[in-house]
């Protein structure tokens, strides 16, 4: 199998970005806003100096090199259900949902409103039912729950509705410990959890060049408990990073390497995913241009830098600036998602979201899934083998014959790409079979059907009670 891929950046260019980032880390340093993290860096030979509300940490190149060696190239993102185990390794790719929506288009009324824990449960159930999503990111927040314990509510809503691997931000050191306890209850105890951790935390370095306290606390708490770290930086060229892509790549690389070093110094070989949802700031309106072509090019840089270090990558790509489920949303999703996928990103992130990542839309998730199936098909490329060359069949059919009834067709037709909602029927059939409805309307119908009918794998007995008690305990202290 050949497969399609984008190179986009040369080995020499990657070397330059790497050396520049190492120079930044060892001479300018990064700001660490946690005393405990600063001590960990110091213990490994970094120069640490107190500055205002944090520490400037200068990391020697040798420490960065050692830590990139320690981070595994291949690991498993375990599902609660082993059939959903997803192997992350060079060449593998998967898709997941955009993570931080705060509004939702209501599933039934389509009203644009603040999202709730119930919405998160339903969106997760929908993603659980869609085969294109191998792992499930928290796509919206339980905005009806208190800030301090919201991440616990988020986890409860998600794990109750999916048996796939879950990713979400644990928010604080304390919540990290509590979520790990909750996750353990959902897989039959801590011993099982440590063998097959079914959750990964996301953390965000703050551009430029800062790891805030909660980011450090979550990295330390999770690495110590055997939970993987997905570090996602969000540089905005022209504001929190240089206006040029190469400069942005250097800043984000330094931030990601900083969080990687903290992860590996806390606990060797902890799974670490190298992620970015960077893009440019539109300097005429002062808003992030989430679907700019620069985002696509930056994603190529992100995927290739991760490959350079032999660690898995995560590219934020599919978000649209459109407020509606419309043509803009579709164009913007497809372009940058295809680029990230073909650049070899191991996790392509951003499905189900419009309005620059503020609004989750159920129909968008369904349609993104259908488009992803096609993109994945393209990435796999063509197989040129004796069987696929079909020489004997061509000779047998000969000039003027037909292939419709050939055994070779019967044998291989199921591997052809197939449409579900996207439609290429002739007009009358379209009018009769789907009542001439547009694709967005049909996507909402499919979303409603799946949410109402899909049965996620049940939690083990007692797990729901443990989770409720954990949340209650945290809310009363």
């Amino acid at each position: 199998m050949s497969g399609f891929q984008i190179e986009g950046i040369t080995k020499d260019q990657l070397d330059k970005i790497h050396h520049a980032s190492i120079k930044i880390l060892s001479t300018t340093g990064i700001k660490i806003e946690s005393e405990e993290a600063a001590e960990i860096f110091h213990g490994a030979g970094s120069e640490v100096n107190k500055k205002n509300d944090g520490y400037i940490v200068k990391i020697p190149p040798s420490v960065v090199d050692d830590c990139t060696q320690l981070a595994p190239e291949r690991f498993v993102l375990y599902g609660r259900d082993p059939k959903h185990d997803h192997i992350v390794e060079p060449g593998s790719s998967c898709f997941t949902l955009f993570g931080e929506n705060i509004y939702v288009n209501d599933l039934y009324t389509l009203e644009h409103r603040i999202c709730t824990k119930n919405d998160l449960g339903e969106a997760t159930r929908l993603a659980d039912s869609l085969g294109e999503f191998a792992i499930i990111e928290k796509c919206l927040g339980s905005q009806d729950k208190p800030a301090e314990t919201q991440s616990l509510h988020n986890y409860e809503a998600m794990v109750s509705n999916t048996s796939k691997h879950v990713l979400h931000g644990f928010f604080s050191g304390r919540n990290s410990k509590k979520i790990i306890e909750m996750a353990a209850a959902c897989v039959g105890g801590m011993e099982n959890f440590l063998k097959r951790p079914c959750v990964t935390t996301t953390v965000c370095p703050t551009s430029p060049l800062t790891l805030v306290k909660n980011c450090c606390d979550v990295i330390i708490a999770c690495a110590r408990s055997g939970v993987g770290i997905c570090s996602i930086t969000m540089p905005l060229s022209g504001t929190t990073a240089p206006v040029t892509i190469a400069g942005t790549l250097i800043v984000q690389n330094a931030e990601l390497l900083g969080s990687l070093v903290l992860t590996q110094l806390t606990s060797k070989n902890t799974p670490f995913i190298y992620g970015s949802v960077g893009t440019i700031m539109d300097l005429k309106i002062g808003s992030p241009a989430v679907a700019a072509p620069e985002c696509g090019v930056l994603n190529v840089g992100t995927a290739k830098m991760a490959q350079y270090y032999g660690i898995p990558s995560w590219c934020g790509s599919g978000v649209s600036g459109s407020k509606l489920m419309d043509v803009q949303a579709a164009y913007e999703f497809t372009t940058n998602t295809a680029i990230a996928l073909l650049a070899g990103s191991n996790v392509v992130y951003g499905c189900g979201s419009i309005e620059s990542g503020l609004t989750f839309d159920f129909a968008k998730l369904v349609l993104d899934a259908e488009q992803l199936k096609k993109l994945h098909w393209v990435k796999n490329g063509m197989d040129v083998s004796e069987e696929t060359m079909a020489l004997e069949t061509i000779q047998h059919v000969g000039p003027g014959g037909e292939y419709l009834t050939s055994p070779h067709t019967l044998q291989h037709m199921r591997s052809m790409s197939q449409n579900d909602l996207f439609d290429c029927m002739e007009r009358d059939a379209w009018a009769n079979k789907v009542g001439g409805k547009g694709i967005v309307e049909r996507a909402y119908e499919k979303a409603r059907f799946l949410i109402e009918n899909h049965k996620p794998m049940a939690l083990p007995e007692g797990a729901a009670t443990v989770m409720k008690a954990t949340i209650k305990e945290c809310e009363s202290t």
Partner: protein
């Protein structure tokens, strides 16, 4: 009244970020015996308004707006110095405290708001990100602020905006200091629920609301 050519040139030097020429215009005018208040009101304030307007219409880039705001600040200092009797022109336009609330580390939007406020001639104290309610109030009292503007990007940090309202009320400062709230998840409903004086949906709207609150046309 000041010369029409000066009025035109003040706008041009701000838009083109020609700091040296802006200072030269101010000094020449003042050395020639011109009235500092005329220079401000007829020259530089309309100039900076025109700059803000061009930004609003997508004709200028944000960094250009920031440069104009910085030049405006220098020119304002020169004009203030020239004013006899120490009347603080800036003070008349209002003093504003701006901060991203505690727990929130996202502040790029707030930085844009600050530039626009400066461009509009307000005195702005930017306290940065992740700022505790007590620090906001202490600084507001210290600099005798007219308005406190806070932003929150996360719904988890929005309650800190309510904390600020509650603290201002309990310390009896609500009549003295007005509040504006903003940030991606913040809504007009949230603003009225917590008792904020205004909601700003973006930086431009923030300026409109501040002017309304301060009674500036």
């Amino acid at each position: 009244m000041i010369d029409k050519s000066i009025i035109e040139e003040t706008a041009e030097v701000l838009i083109k970020a020609n700091k040296d020429r802006a200072i030269e215009i101010a000094k020449n005018f003042l050395n020639g015996g011109g009235n500092p208040i005329d220079l401000m009101e007829e020259g530089f304030i309309p100039g900076i308004n025109a700059t803000g307007d061009l930004f609003g219409r997508g004709k200028l880039f944000l960094p250009e707006l920031i440069q104009a705001a910085e030049i405006m600040k220098e020119v304002t200092d020169i004009i203030n110095e020239a004013l006899t009797g120490g009347v603080d022109e800036k003070k008349e336009r209002g003093t504003i405290i701006v901060a991203t609330v505690q727990g929130d580390v996202h502040d790029i939007g707030k930085c844009i708001v600050v530039s626009l406020m400066q461009a509009n001639g307000f005195t702005v104290h930017d306290l940065g990100r992740d700022v505790a309610t007590e620090t906001i109030i202490e600084t507001a009292l210290e600099v005798n602020a007219d308005i406190i503007g806070t932003s929150a990007l996360l719904t988890t940090t929005m309650p800190r905006q309510k904390d600020l309202e509650d603290a201002l009320k309990s310390e009896g400062l609500k009549n003295r200091i007005k509040t504006v709230v903003g940030g991606a998840p913040v809504t007009p409903r949230w603003a009225s629920r917590i008792g904020a004086n205004a909601y700003a949906k973006n930086a431009q709207d923030g300026i409109v609301k501040i002017k309304e609150l301060l009674g500036i046309k």
